[in-house]
C-alpha cells in the first residue's frame, strides 16, 4: 500500500486511491464542490487544487492518484493561492443573494467562501443571469446560482439510472436543464437537492418556509417501504418543515426516495384528526378523551358480551410502530380475540408458513449479487432505493431476470424477462422452475419457453444469487403458489429466497404477533365474513385491502368501528369513534426493516392538537377493560416487552419457508384483467396525503387506468380520454392512458385509490367501455 504524506501526516492507503480519498481517511478537509463520494470523478470545479512535491502545477486532489512517497500540501501558500483563485472565479458570476436563498446556512459555496473568498470582488463586469427551468413539483431552481459542478447530472446518469438533467451549451453559456418538454420524474429526483452544493436546486415544497439554522434536526425512520431509510426530520416550531437523509451505508446510503423526502407534508395535512370524535345520531361530535375512551371501551364491551370476542376484528396498518402493534395484538388477545392482522392487501393465505417473511439477507448483500430473479415486483416504485442497489449490482456484472405482469423499465439492462398477465404469472414462474429442474410437483403439463430456459441458464450460473418476491407476488390471488415456486427455484439454483417487504414495519408486525393464531381470522377473512365490530389502528382497509369493495362493505355494515388514526378521513363514514393518534414523527417508536434490523427513534415533534401516542391510547383501552399487563411507562418498556432480546428476538422469528401448497393455477384466465399493484404515492396514509407527490408524473399516472395501445385500439377507445372502468358490479370513470409495456388484456389500475374503492379486487376480470 502506498504511503503518502499530506500536511505532514503520514497515511497508508490502498493503491488506486486518490489524494482526496487519502485526505478523507486522515480526516483532512480539502475544499471541494464537484467531488462526491458516490459519484464519478469530474475534476472540473478545481476547488480541491493542492500542491504536490515535484509537480510543476497544482493538482486536483479528487482526481490525482496516490503514489508511494508522494508529498502533498493542501494548505501551503501555493495550494491556498490556487484555491483562492478558483473561489474568486466561482463568485464572479454568482448572484451572492444569500439572504433570499434557501441554501443559506448550509451552502458549501458560502462555507468555503468564508475561508477562501475575498472581502471585495475584483470583478466589475455585468453578471450572468440564467433562466429558470421547470423541473416539476419537487425541485425548485435558481439557475443563476449554479456553479456547474455537474453533480446533479452525474446523479441522474449514475444513481437514478436516467439522465433527466443535462448540461447543454458551452463555456459561460453552459446550463443545467431537463430535456425539452420533460420534467424530472425519477422517483429519486429529490436527491439532487442535497447534492447541489449551492442554492440552484432546492426543495419546492419547502421553499422559503424556514432558514436552515432555525430548524432542529431529529432522527426518524421512513414510514413507507420496508427499507427503513434514515431521516433527519427538520423541525421548527413543532412542525416538520422538511426531511433530508441521514447517511447510513447499510440502508439508504446518502439517498432518499422522493416518497421518504416529501411525505412529511401529510403531517401538516388539513385532514389531520386533532380531537377525539364520537358519532352521535349519525353526526360527528368532538368529545374529550375520557369520554371518547369510555365510549369506545363501553361499546366494544357490549359487542363482546353479546356476540363473543370472535365477533371483533383487529386490523392494523403495517406502517405502525413495533410498540403500537405489540400492544394492539396484546389488547385483542387479552379480550379473547384472535382475529388480528396487518396484511391488509393480501388475499392468498394458503399453505403453512413458519415465520415472518423477510429479505432473507442483508440489504447491502443486494449490491453483491451475481444473479437475481425478480418475481412480480414493480421494483422502482415499490422499492426505489432497492432498485438503485440492483442497478449498481448490474453495473458490476450482475444479471437481473424479471418475471412480472408489466415490462417496466428498470433503468438497467435485464438479462431475461418473462412478462405475462397476472393470471398467467404462476404458469411463467412454473416454466422457470421446471427449466431449473426444481423439485416440485404438478409441473408435468408446463411447457417451458425459450425465455424460461435462458433465465434458468442465467440462474444456474454465478455465485451469489437471490430470488426476490415483490409486492405483486405477495398480493397475487395465487401468492402461495408463487411463493412455493420461488422457493423451489431458489433451492435448485442455490439462491437465497427473499421478500421485498413493501411496508415499513410489516416484519415488525409479524414478529410481535399481529397475525391470527389458532382459530383466528386473517384480514381478508375478516372482511369476507363481516364482523360485528372492528378496531382499526392506522389502517385504511377500504383503500388498501385486497378487495376494497368487500372491506368497505364490511366496515360500513359493522355495528361498531373504532378507528385510531392520525387522519380524519379514514373511517369518517363508517366509524363510530375516531381517536386521534400520533403520526410517525410524533411518537417514540421502532420499526423492523426487511432485513430484520430494529431501528428506534424518539418523537421529533409533539402530536398535533389533542392527538396522543397510539401505544398510550392502547394502554388506556386495556385499563378501561381492567386488563392486566397494560401499565407500561415508556415506549422503551413496551419494546422490551415486545422484543425481549431485541434484534435476536426478531431474527429467531424470521423464516421464508412455505409448505403444503399445490401449484394449480397454471392456466391463464380469458378476457381482460386488472393489475392492481400499489401506486408509488398510494402506499400508505402518509404518502397519499402529500400534495407535492400527488402532482408528480408518478402521482398522476397512479390515478389513471393504463392499457397497451393494442387493447385500446381493439376496444375502440382513445388514450388520454376518460373511460368507464367496470369491475364486479361497479363502474367508475378514469382517465385512460397508454402504456405499451403492459401485456395485452391487462388494465393497470392501482390499488389504494379512493376513486376505485367500489371496483373491488386488485386482480381479476375488468372491462373498459367508451363514455
Amino acid at each position: 500500500m502506498p504511503l503518502i504524506t499530506i500536511d505532514d501526516q503520514q497515511i497508508e492507503i490502498a493503491a488506486g486511491s486518490t489524494v482526496m480519498d487519502a485526505a478523507r481517511a486522515a480526516g483532512i478537509y480539502i475544499p471541494h464542490f464537484c467531488y462526491h463520494k458516490k459519484l464519478s470523478i469530474a475534476a472540473s470545479c478545481r476547488m480541491c487544487l493542492i500542491e504536490v512535491e515535484k509537480a510543476p502545477k497544482p493538482l486536483p486532489a479528487c482526481a490525482t492518484p496516490v503514489t508511494d512517497g508522494m508529498v502533498v500540501r493542501s494548505y501551503s501558500a501555493k495550494a491556498v493561492e490556487a484555491q483562492k483563485g478558483v473561489m474568486e472565479f466561482l463568485l464572479i458570476n454568482h448572484p451572492l443573494d444569500c439572504p433570499i436563498c434557501d441554501q443559506g446556512g448550509e451552502c458549501q459555496l458560502q462555507d468555503i467562501a468564508v475561508g477562501y473568498g475575498g472581502v471585495a470582488s475584483r470583478y466589475a463586469e455585468a453578471k450572468r443571469v440564467v433562466k429558470e427551468k421547470d423541473l416539476g413539483p419537487l425541485v425548485a431552481t435558481d439557475m443563476t446560482r449554479c456553479i456547474h459542478c455537474s453533480r446533479c447530472v452525474r446523479f441522474g446518469q449514475e444513481i437514478a439510472g436516467i439522465m433527466e438533467l443535462g448540461m447543454p451549451g458551452r463555456g459561460e453559456h453552459t446550463e443545467v436543464m431537463p430535456f425539452l418538454e420533460h420534467h424530472v420524474s425519477s422517483e429519486l429526483s429529490g436527491n439532487v437537492i442535497d447534492l447541489c452544493p449551492v442554492g440552484a436546486l432546492t426543495s419546492k415544497p419547502f421553499r422559503f418556509s424556514a432558514r436552515s439554522w432555525e430548524m432542529a434536526r431529529r432522527k426518524g425512520i421512513s414510514p413507507h417501504d420496508g427499507l427503513g431509510s434514515n431521516l433527519a426530520l427538520q423541525v421548527k416550531d413543532n412542525r416538520v418543515m422538511r426531511v433530508t437523509p441521514v447517511d447510513n451505508e447499510a440502508i439508504n446510503e446518502c439517498w432518499l426516495a422522493d416518497r421518504d423526502r416529501f411525505s412529511y407534508q401529510a403531517l401538516n395535512s388539513a385532514e389531520r384528526l386533532t380531537r377525539p370524535m364520537v358519532k352521535d345520531g349519525g353526526r360527528w361530535v368532538e368529545v374529550d378523551w375520557p369520554k371518547a375512551m369510555a365510549f369506545a371501551a363501553g361499546a366494544l364491551k357490549v359487542i363482546r358480551d353479546t356476540h363473543g370476542a370472535s365477533a371483533i376484528g383487529f386490523i392494523a396498518s403495517p406502517h405502525q410502530t413495533v410498540e403500537e402493534l405489540y400492544l394492539f395484538q396484546k389488547l385483542a388477545r387479552a379480550l379473547g380475540c384472535e382475529n388480528i392482522d396487518s396484511r391488509i392487501d393480501r388475499v392468498d393465505f394458503s399453505g403453512r408458513r413458519d415465520g415472518v417473511e423477510w429479505l432473507g439477507m442483508a440489504v447491502t448483500d443486494l449490491n453483491k449479487l451475481d444473479r437475481v430473479l425478480l418475481v412480480a415486483s414493480t421494483v422502482r416504485k415499490e422499492q426505489p432505493l432497492i432498485a438503485q442497489r440492483l442497478r449498481q449490482a448490474v453495473k458490476k456484472g450482475a444479471q437481473v431476470n424479471v418475471v412480472h405482469c408489466a415490462d417496466d423499465d428498470l433503468l438497467c439492462s435485464v438479462a431475461n424477462k418473462l412478462i405475462a398477465r397476472p393470471s398467467d404469472l404462476v404458469n411463467i414462474l412454473a416454466q422457470v422452475a421446471k427449466a431449473v429442474g426444481a423439485d416440485i410437483d404438478g409441473l408435468s403439463d408446463v411447457v417451458v419457453s425459450d425465455a424460461a430456459r435462458a433465465m434458468a441458464a442465467s440462474l444456474k450460473s454465478g455465485e451469489k444469487k437471490a430470488v426476490l418476491l415483490g409486492a405483486v407476488a405477495q398480493q397475487h390471488p395465487a401468492a402461495s403458489e408463487l411463493h412455493v415456486l420461488a422457493q423451489a427455484i431458489a433451492k435448485a439454483t442455490g439462491a437465497t429466497l427473499g421478500f421485498l417487504v413493501d411496508s415499513a414495519n410489516a416484519v415488525g408486525a409479524g414478529v410481535v404477533g399481529c397475525r391470527p393464531r389458532q382459530g383466528g381470522l386473517n384480514a381478508a377473512a375478516m372482511f369476507v365474513a363481516p364482523k360485528k365490530a372492528y378496531v382499526i389502528l392506522g389502517a385504511e382497509p377500504e383503500l388498501d385491502a385486497a378487495d376494497s369493495a368487500v372491506a368497505h362493505q364490511a366496515l360500513a355494515g359493522a355495528e361498531l368501528v373504532i378507528a385510531l388514526s392520525p387522519f380524519k378521513t379514514a373511517g369518517a363514514d363508517y366509524a363510530q369513534v375516531m381517536l386521534p393518534v400520533a403520526a410517525y414523527a410524533e411518537t417514540a417508536g421502532s420499526y423492523v426493516n426487511m432485513e430484520g434490523r430494529l431501528q428506534s427513534w424518539c418523537a421529533a415533534i409533539p402530536p398535533q392538537g389533542e392527538a396522543r401516542t397510539a401505544w398510550k391510547v392502547l394502554r388506556v383501552l386495556g385499563n378501561q377493560f381492567g386488563l392486566a399487563g397494560f401499565d407500561q411507562d415508556s415506549a422503551e418498556q413496551v419494546l422490551a416487552e415486545a422484543l425481549p432480546e431485541g434484534e435476536a428476538t426478531v431474527r429467531a422469528r424470521l423464516n421464508n419457508e412455505i409448505a403444503d401448497v399445490t401449484v394449480a393455477h397454471l392456466n391463464a384466465a380469458a378476457g381482460i384483467e386488472r393489475l392492481g399493484d400499489t401506486a408509488v404515492y398510494q402506499l400508505d396514509a402518509y404518502s397519499r396525503r402529500a400534495p407535492a407527490l400527488q402532482v408528480t408524473v408518478d402521482g398522476q399516472v397512479g390515478h389513471a387506468a393504463m392499457a397497451c395501445g393494442a387493447l385500446i385500439a381493439r376496444l375502440g377507445l382513445s388514450e388520454d380520454k376518460p373511460v368507464k372502468v367496470r369491475q364486479s358490479d361497479a363502474e367508475v370513470v378514469f382517465k385512460l392512458m397508454r402504456d405499451d409495456r403492459l401485456p395485452d388484456n391487462v388494465v393497470r389500475l392501482a390499488g389504494g385509490l379512493a376513486a376505485a374503492v367500489q371496483l373491488g379486487p386488485r386482480f381479476g376480470p375488468i372491462s373498459l367501455e367508451k363514455m
Binding site: 470545479c45 502545477k57 478558483v86 474568486e88 466589475a124 456553479i147 456547474h148 443535462g166 458551452r170 463555456g171
Partner: protein, 428 residues
Amino acid sequence: MSAPYTGPKVCLWTLDHANPASLETYVANGGYSALKKILAEKTPAAEIIEQVKISALRGRGGAGFPTGLKWSFMPRNYEGDKYIVCNSDEGEPGTFKDRDIIEFNPHQLIEGMVIAGYTLGAKAGYNYIHGEIFELYESWEKALEEARSAGYLGNNICGSGWAFDVHAHQGYGAYVCGEETALLESIEGKKGQPRFKPPFPASFGLYGKPTTINNTETLASIPWIMRNGGQAFLDLGKPNNGGTKIFSISGHVNKPGNYEIPMGTPFADLLVMAGGVRDGHTLKAVIPGGSSAPVLPAEIIMACTLDYDSIAKAGSMFGSGAVIVMDETVCMVKALERLSYFYYEESCGQCTPCREGTGWMYRVVHRIEHGEGRPEDLDLLMSVGNNIAGRTICALGEAAVGPVQSFIKHFRQEFEYHIEHKRCMVGA
C-alpha cells in the same frame, strides 16, 4: 537566401502534379509502396517505431510531442480493441494546413493511418474532420472508397490477410473538440469536453480502449518516413526538428497561403516566400504558431528560425505552424479583444477557471477597447491569467491566457494609451 524552397516536400508534393488528389497520381509516385513493403516483409512494429523516433517527427497538432515516443506508449500485448484517431479538427484560428492535405493528398494520410494502425495493433481508425469543411468530408469519404476498392483498406489489405478500416467522423465546428480527449468524447456521441488526464488515451481512449491520436500532418508524414527512412526525414529539417512543415501564413502579407518548407527555415525567408508584408507597410508583430501562441514583436520574430526550439526560446510556441502576420496598422487592443472573444466563446465550460476566467478577460479587454478601461485593468488581466493557466483540465485555459499576457507584455504602452486616452494610438 530567399529563393523559394525547391527541395523535397513531405505532404503537399502532389500539388506539383495534375490531379493531385487522385489515387493514380499517388501510386505513380511511390504511394502505398511503404505499406506494401511493410505488409509483405511483416516489418516488426518496433522497427517502424524506431524509424519514427530517428526521424524526430514531432506532433504537428500543436504540442510538438515526439511521435515515435507517443507510439511507444501504446500497450503492445493488450487483449482487446485498440484504435488510432486522426485529428483533422483544425480549429485553431490561423491554421489551414490539414484541410489541404485532405484535399490534395488524401491517400498519403490514409497510408499513414494504415501504417499507424498496423504498427500499433489497432482495430480501426477514425478521422475526425472539422465541421465547417463539408466538401472535404465528402472527398475524404471518396478517397477511402477508392482505397478500399484498391485493397489498401478493408478486410485483406494488399492481400496480406490483415484487416483494418478507417472511418470518417464529422465534427461540428467546436474548437475544443480538437483537444484530443474532447474529440474522443465527441466520436463517442457525447458532449465534446476534455477528459481529465490521467488516464491518458494510450491506456483509456476511444470507448475506453487504448488509443493513439495524431494530427493529420503527423500521420501524413509517416509514409514518407517509411519510404525514405527516418534519417532522411531528420535531414530535411534540423536536429530534434525533423522534416518539412506546412506553414499557414495569414494576415498582412501579399501572398497568404500554405508553404511547406524545412523545419528551421528562418522566419524572414518564409515572409519573403509569402510576398512580404503588405505593400507600403511594415511588420509590427507575428503570432507564430496559431492564435494561442504568444505574440512576438517584429524584431524578435525576425531573428527566429521556424522550429520548436527557436520559437520557444523567443518566448512563444511553434504550435501548429500557423503564422499570423500583423503590420503597423493593427491596434493590439482590438486584436486582443477579438482573440479573447474567441476563447471566451470556445471554452467548453467544464472547469471553473476557464469557464469564468475567459469571460472575465474578454469583458475587461472589451471595456478597454471601448474606452472604458481603468488603470488597474492590466495588472488585473495578468493576475486573472495566472489564476487560469496551469489550473484547468485542458490546455484551452492556457491557450486563452497566452495572447492576453503576451500582448500586454510586449505592447503595454498601447494598452495604457487606450486606457488613458480612451482611444487608439494606432489611429486605424
